[in-house]
């Protein structure tokens, strides 16, 4: 069983010396208080010293180092929809459709046109003419209302014509694509540039076209330059 009075006695002074316990206790208590005060002051000094023990330093900043990537965006008034159609066609029959291409990117770009074909082989008997121009007003999808061809004879095939040949011969990849309007003098598409393109296919007078069918997908692509 611990002596629970031992601590109290320790504060009273040496036991059994015959002197009044109250006087001895006060002297020892005072000594202990002084020692405790000294310890606290010493500890505080150490802490204060540690807090102020630092290097000299300085900093400056360079904020807002920023980098942003430009954009290349095309839009069409006839996205993902057919603009040409022929059914039961005979030699000389044709189909015409127009597309308005708008550029909303931030980078200067050039426009490419290419197409992929499918079907049983009619595309090699279809004559394709692509004419570059502009629209007055806002055309509906596939409509050529308000279309005016450029006056420039780009490839010596008539005003505004940028391609004239069989559909099957239209370049089929971006790498080999037509450059608008010509690869020799490509146009630079800046933000808000808009041009119209009229596509017309005509069935050639060739008996080998009988019974054939064909399909084509035209792709306009803008590449930053």
């Amino acid at each position: 069983m611990p002596d629970q009075n031992a601590s109290a006695r320790a504060h009273e002074g040496p036991p059994g010396d015959g002197s009044p316990p109250s006087d001895r206790g006060r002297v020892f208590a005072t000594a202990i208080k002084l020692a405790a005060t000294a310890a606290v002051l010493a500890g505080a000094s150490l802490l204060a010293g540690a807090a102020t023990w630092s290097n000299l330093n300085a900093t400056v900043t360079n904020p807002s180092n920023s980098f942003s990537v430009g954009t290349v965006n095309l839009s069409s008034n006839s996205p993902s929809s057919a603009v040409l159609s022929l059914a039961g066609a005979e030699p000389g029959d044709f189909s015409t459709g127009c597309i308005r291409i708008s550029y909303t990117g931030t980078l200067p770009a050039e426009l490419k046109l290419y197409g992929t074909g499918a079907g049983s082989g009619l595309n090699q008997y279809l004559m394709l003419v692509v004419t570059r121009g502009s629209f007055s007003g806002t055309p509906s999808s596939g409509s050529c209302t308000g279309f005016t061809a450029d006056t420039t004879n780009y490839i010596a095939q008539g005003a505004g014509v940028i391609y004239s040949g069989v559909l099957a011969a239209l370049p089929s990849t971006a790498a080999s694509a037509l450059i608008d309007p010509t690869s020799a003098n490509p146009a630079t598409w800046d933000p808000q540039s808009t041009h119209g393109y009229r596509l017309q296919v005509t069935v050639l007078n060739d008996a080998r076209a009988q019974g054939l069918n064909g399909r084509a997908t035209f792709t306009f692509e803008a590449d930053s330059i």
Binding site: A58, V60, P63, V72
Partner: protein, 191 residues
């Protein structure tokens, strides 16, 4: 000794008072012990703390910016950091975490940053070669890069070069269209 113990037991205060009186007497005895002497002084020993500071030729401004970039583009900017303090300083380059917009794929994870120490821009002959400080992805730059000790009055020119690697044809980098990233660089010097 026995008497002193007895006296302590009887009256500790008297013992303490008596000891204090003895110490005072000893002090008086020392104070009254005159003799010949000679002194010399070394006055004006002055101790002045050095200063640590540096100037930044583009304080609170960007070192380089580039907008509307495309794959294959690079941009370069320089900044001069001069130790304007009176003491040598240990310099370091730090930066904030780059803020990518959009966060994914993160332009800072695509573009590379090269930082070179070109040395003193005033050097014209026998100038030391440029020292590479960092080369790598912008996002991977260490939080703090030690630049070494610079003596008082010395200037270092640092060149930052940003590169947007070309990922290839057919829109290989289309995921980064319209993306942006911003970072802040901090220069610190410590005694």
């Amino acid at each position: 000794m026995h008497r002193l113990k007895s006296l302590w037991r009887a009256s500790p205060r008297k013992v303490l008072v008596a000891m204090g009186g003895l110490m005072a007497a000893a002090a008086v005895a020392v104070g009254s012990g005159a003799n010949f002497n000679s002194t010399s002084a070394n006055p004006s020993n002055v101790f002045t703390a050095g200063t640590i500071s540096h100037s930044n030729s583009k304080t609170n401004a960007a070192i380089l910016t580039a907008s509307n970039i495309v794959p294959g583009n690079t941009a370069t900017g320089t900044v001069d950091i001069k130790n304007t303090g009176s003491a040598s300083g240990t310099f370091a380059l730090g930066h904030t975490v780059a803020v990518d917009t959009p966060a994914s794929p993160g332009l800072s994870k695509k573009i590379t940053m090269t930082v070179q120490d070109l040395g003193d821009p005033a050097c014209v002959t026998a100038c030391p070669a440029a020292v590479s400080v960092y080369t790598g992805l912008m996002s991977a730059m260490p939080v703090s890069i030690p630049l070494g000790v610079s003596a008082a009055g010395v200037t270092h020119r640092y060149q930052f070069t940003m590169s947007f690697p070309d990922g290839g044809i057919n829109g290989a980098d289309n995921a980064y269209q319209g993306a942006s990233t911003t970072v802040e660089y901090t220069w610190s010097s410590t005694s």
